[in-house]
Amino acid sequence: MPEARAANPAEEAAQRALDSVYTCIRERTSFRLEAGAGAGKTYSLVKALRFIIKEQGVKLQRQHQQVACITYTNVATDEILSRIDSHPAVLASTIHAFCWSLIKGFQPFLRLKLPEISGWSERLEEVGGIGQRRVDYDLGHPRAKPNDPKVFLAGC
């Protein structure tokens, strides 16, 4: 194999794109990375995450902060986590799981708002109101059962 093979134009472009991603991260500006299928978007994402971990991982953890990395599917989440060794400074999850993790702690508020979601006021009436039930989020149909201390919002 030749020692120094000249980078082909695609590789050069990829490196340029990656460099400008690093610059954006360092300067804390937003950016959008557009590329076709198989061009290496996830690869760049992982690169960017590793970059952040290396530069700021310790500091982020100290300040109880995480990088939110939102994906479309659980498969993609797992993929990313495995490539960054599930580093605690990164929170990778699907959009649903991410949002739910933000709001699930606010149970009294969820109980207050639940009847406003279509279908829920009737559903709750059947089981005698929300009471002190815990609002949870799971796969399957939305459901509330008479003696269940939880009611479930639908997963999808």
Partner: protein, 688 residues
Amino acid sequence: MYISKIAINNFRLLEAVVLGLEEQTTVIVGRNNSGKTSLTELFRRLQEEASPRFKLEDFSLGVVDQFWTAFELQRNGAEETQIRKALPEIKIELTIEYGNSGADIGPLSDFVIDLNLECTSTKVNILYALEEGKIPALFDDIEQEKPAFFKAIKERIPMLFKTTLEAEDPNDPTNRKKLELSILRALLQCGFISAHRTLDATTRTEKAILGKILETLFTAATSETANPDERDKAEELTKAVSDIQNDIDVNFNEQLLKLIPAFNLFGYPGLSDPKLHTETNLKVEQLLSNHTTVGYEGINGVNLPESYNGLGPRNLIFILLKLLEFFRSFTTSQPAAGVHLVFIEEPEAHLHPQMQNVFIRKLGEIAKFFSDQYNGGVSWPAQFVVTTHSSHIANEASFDSMRYFLVQQRTESPELLTTKIKDLRSGLSDEPSENRDFLHKYMTLTRCDLLFADRGVLIEGTTERLLLPKMIEKLDVGRPDIAKLSCQYLTIMEVGGAYAHIFFNLLDFLNLRTLIITDLDTVDRGNDGKKCKVSDGTHSSNSCINRWYAGNGEENPTKDELLEKREVDKVTKNRRLAFQIPHYEGDACGRSLEAAFILANPDIFDLAGITAPAREDQAWTAANKIDKTDFALEFAINKTNWSTPRYIEEGLRWLAENPDNSPASEANEEQEATATPVLAENQEGDNA
């Protein structure tokens, strides 16, 4: 982010206390045994034990009986919820304030459970309570007799009780969230500098305390989170040691080997040479803690060991290094805690007064200096809680930052003591600010130890100050059976009638039994309010007296009304007013202490045998002429055979009586009846 309030229930003396904390330094004052150390101890347990356990003895004595109550409920078949309610639990409730800026609220993410944008505080509860479902286990097969019952309970508590953590919505107590106890560490870090610092051991075998601290500093510097500068230094240290290590391996161990006897000497046939090999290991940590001493530079290369320095500077250096250690352990902890509570117990040890003043003034600056110097200006969210017995520290700190621990008897069962915390920020908030300033300045200027005393006396001036010790001595000698005033911790403050009233609220607030000795200061309102003899006076110009009775709804009492006041009319809450009254029944009354003193001792001043008005006249003239200090010194030191003027004696008698710790008092039960002395020539004098 900072802790604004700590409420504690049922821990030792702290049965139900609320302690407001300042954002930076809070100074806790109070006498011995008032629960200051319990406060520190409680946080020490939270910090040091992963799952703190408390013993039966840690519960406040007042609530221990509730175990029995709960047991009786269970025996009578009460509902479990009812039994659980009756069981005591140790509870710590922290209120944490956070700004809305969002910069530092990461550690709070698990604890904020409200969605109210206006609300910038949250509550964190730490509970030591019976585990769920363990009521039967607590009471099953237990002894039915009280002493045996409590013995069994004592054994069962550590097994069945558990410490739990929950977040509470400050505006909705029903909104709570259970949390893992371990995440408390992400929120709260504590550091302790305890009163027992073993600095005073001067023997050679003593552990080098300061050297020990160096080790912790080194460990902090090697951690992943330390800043690069520190880490470089630590690495250099490690490198220096590893160079020595190489040297040792080469030279030292080679020589060492020669010391080992050759095994073939033993002539074991067939014993192959085991080839011994020596290895000496050096570690920076061990070098620092065991073999490094901090010394002081001397001359001619003779350095002085750590223990040869004065205790004061050692104490100060110790505290400073300790603070630096806390700071380092904070900056390197992963994750960083939201709040760092640093308890400093009695920093005044071995320090002379000026040094104490400087210490408390500089404490806040130290925190800032550390973060500027070593942390690139990132602030260190340290809150200092300083407990002290020093009036120098107390007076230097502002009123607002002071908390006063007071031990009181429980109202229903006086044999049980409980701590009350008085918050000088909120407690005196009604006081106009110029009065607060006055009090603070007064206490700073006069180094007064009001905050540590059992009893207080407010006096007019020098004469009282010089004569009072003798008067107290005379009183105690005359009454061997009663609690002696000279054995109590008395603080005497020279305030003067014009300012004494400013102290009223503070005295009430501190619940300090105080005698206020002032002068009648009669004036004649018919004659432009000029000062005059008591017999010619219509009113008093003394603002302390006038304010006292104005406070009781009596504006401008006349002189005659004042002279008719009885003992009960002179007591309000925990303070008593004393002003001149005739020493002998029906005799003339002095206007000042000097005049009263002269009238009380007619034999010394050649007043016997003349009429009351004539006596008053002579006393008035004499009192106006004399040099007060000379007068007082003469009778305090040289001629000590005199009688104490009755108004002061009555007052001191009142002050000596009544137990301590009385709950906020209307506490003026029956007074010992004071027999009024009768002047022999009294009748005669009046009639003439």
